[in-house]
Subunit: 229 residues, 4 copies
């Protein structure tokens, strides 16, 4: 059992290294030597992941079921792009590289806590969907409103409802990049009203998830006690 645990941690570290190396390849002005090291590293990682995949297929009771399971497919996607792009010229490779990001999902196999998180989402599902719809509606009304207030004054930045939507997203999430902001008195008063109404809505999902998480943990503890009694 201990050997299994060390193997699991080894695979997890490999996944993280693989993701970091993926990110490093995007760095500008990489020296040819460093690129080569990254390529060799990638080759080694893919070899190990391939071995892991083969072992998992062989040792699973229902081979077909494993191959088409979520984690079976993830394991395949994590190595397939490498083999597919081996003999293709370099330009097509670029988009394929994004698939290496799927390796991240291999990490989920090792997290038990993710189960509780999934349950919390399930508990708050209805409200989350409702809030998503309400958020979309508030964003849409905000966009149309600010468009009508600011279009005359800033035809370049608020040039359509879609351009205003970008402002609405940046404002109601309170990110506020500052690349687009109202300058008319009407637009500013409208922004004030939108924020007063919208803030109370956009920030609610976080509250829903955190209270759902408390509920899930509370239920888990109760179940444990019932079993113990």
């Amino acid at each position: 059992m201990k050997g299994k645990k060390i193997f699991d941690i080894f695979i997890q570290i490999l996944i993280v290294i693989s993701l970091i190396s993926f990110s490093m390849e995007t760095l500008p002005n990489l020296s040819p030597l460093f690129t080569k090291i990254l390529n060799i590293l990638e080759f080694i990682i893919v070899m190990i992941f391939t071995l892991e995949y083969i072992v998992r297929v062989i040792t699973s009771k229902n081979k077909i079921k494993f191959i088409f399971s979520f984690f079976g497919l993830i394991d395949l996607i994590a190595i397939l792009p490498f083999y597919l792009t081996m003999n293709i010229d370099l330009r097509a490779v670029r988009t394929f590289r994004l698939f290496r990001l799927f390796r991240m999902f291999k990490l989920l196999r090792y997290s038990k806590a993710i189960e509780r998180f999934k349950n919390a989402f399930y508990v708050a599902k209805e409200e989350l969907i409702l809030f998503f719809i309400i958020t979309i509606m508030i964003l849409f009304v905000s966009s149309v409103g600010i468009y009508y207030f600011e279009y005359q004054a800033q035809p370049d930045t608020f040039s359509s409802v879609f351009h205003s939507l970008w402002w609405a997203v940046a404002t109601l999430t309170t990110v506020g990049y500052g690349d687009i902001a109202p300058i008319t008195v009407g637009g500013k008063i409208f922004t004030f009203i939108v924020l007063m109404v919208g803030l109370g809505v956009v920030a609610v999902p976080a509250g829903l998830i955190s209270s759902a998480l408390s509920k899930v943990r509370f239920d888990e503890n109760n179940n444990k006690e019932e079993i113990n009694e």
Copy 2:
């Protein structure tokens, strides 16, 4: 009953298409062909909504009551502007177009979850109003304070209490566009104090709504259980 459901979904899709087409009309540099397509689309949508309205009036038991009900009026406002602006020159049409936004409220007819949201608002009503008043007071005091600190240093951006109010809104909601920020030491210290006090207040409504939502769901579940027993 199944035909009714398909009809409902059909109307909902039409509403969304209508809102997207409304947004698209605001795009700059539309080709004449695309404008024509949007106009034809608008014509078709209004025809269907008119038909829907007539059917709803005919099939309702109390015709007068339906016409003056919330959804009856929304249905009317969703189509009326089209007929009123048919023979008028183009300039006056612009403001009327905004009424097409009311079609969004037609969507509310289909959402049962909105009921729970309304109940949650009702539960937290008193606190929400209180927090709205306190927020207004904090915004006002912040505006006056920053005006006195920054007016000398930045007479153009903090030129009156009303101009400072824009800063207070952007700061206390943490949007922070960056178009207006204190530069004096006094103004910065004042901002720090305002944020320490204000953040704890401005972000409270979201917490109130999310806890009210939990309460409403809890009560619903209890009621169901009581009925079942």
Copy 3:
């Protein structure tokens, strides 16, 4: 009793008008006529507030106690500056005008809901103070840290720990004006760590207040039921 209610609302409206007129006086480029109107308005409001104060003193059972009570002093501060600055030249008046802001507190007399808010603050008092201290500590550590990372690269904006404190306030409250931001790799990584730790702390007070409010309302309802039983 009804006359009392109308009088109360009348006073409340006067307070709001007084605060708006106070704000309007700060507007640049006011016409002499408008300034005169504001002055006359201020004169009328002070006269009514003076009358209100005299009536309150006369009708109160314990005159001395009322005069030195919170609302008695607020009522006095709301009118005193006007009489004190009547014969003084205009320059000294400016600072005195700020006292007119105290009229806002006259509004508190009419709010019963503020009581619940006060109770909620009392319930969460200890945690709020603790979080205030922790926030100060996090802000301080962030300032010192970013100063050491960014001082070399941006000696003008991060010129001392106190200048960095302004960055820490703007960042940890997520306002992010953008007038001061890290540019070095070390500074950016440090900002990331600070935000991961700090966000979870700075946003807590709002959660504390909203859960305390729920508790206060819950207790109130229980007390009512106990009395009814």
Copy 4:
């Protein structure tokens, strides 16, 4: 017992003075006189802290245990740098000065409320770690995504996944400095999706801590009542 309390408050004030003086040394353009005053102040404070440390070692029952305890080590680190850098040239001193920041932790000795805070962290520990990992994953996916959308349009600001990570941190924490923002349509739509998903996750820890704090206080009250009964 009263003398002990006065001594405690005296030490606390000294710590705060020491931290302020530490910050003041970083101010640019300090006069030689002021630098001298700060140096003398630092000398006096270190002397008192040294005395405090010696007294604490002598009066503690288990001397070795105290010296290697958390607070024993903090007390030592608070004074050691001063003695170590006394005879060294000025350049090496700079990094050592940072250790004076550790004096802040001396303050923790006096706070009982910090215990409750620690318990709250313990209650929510698992979720906090989970959310930390999820936050890292969301930040990483956001960085890779925005890199692929914006790299072509802004090769200088989004020049690698690591540069994009800075954008992801500033955006998902809603700080939004504005020094780096998407300009392509794809990048803006991606930002919208990332914010919708991410905001609900990044803001959850604050909710977890505040609800854990409520639970800890609730348990404390229950324990007290049980003891009283």
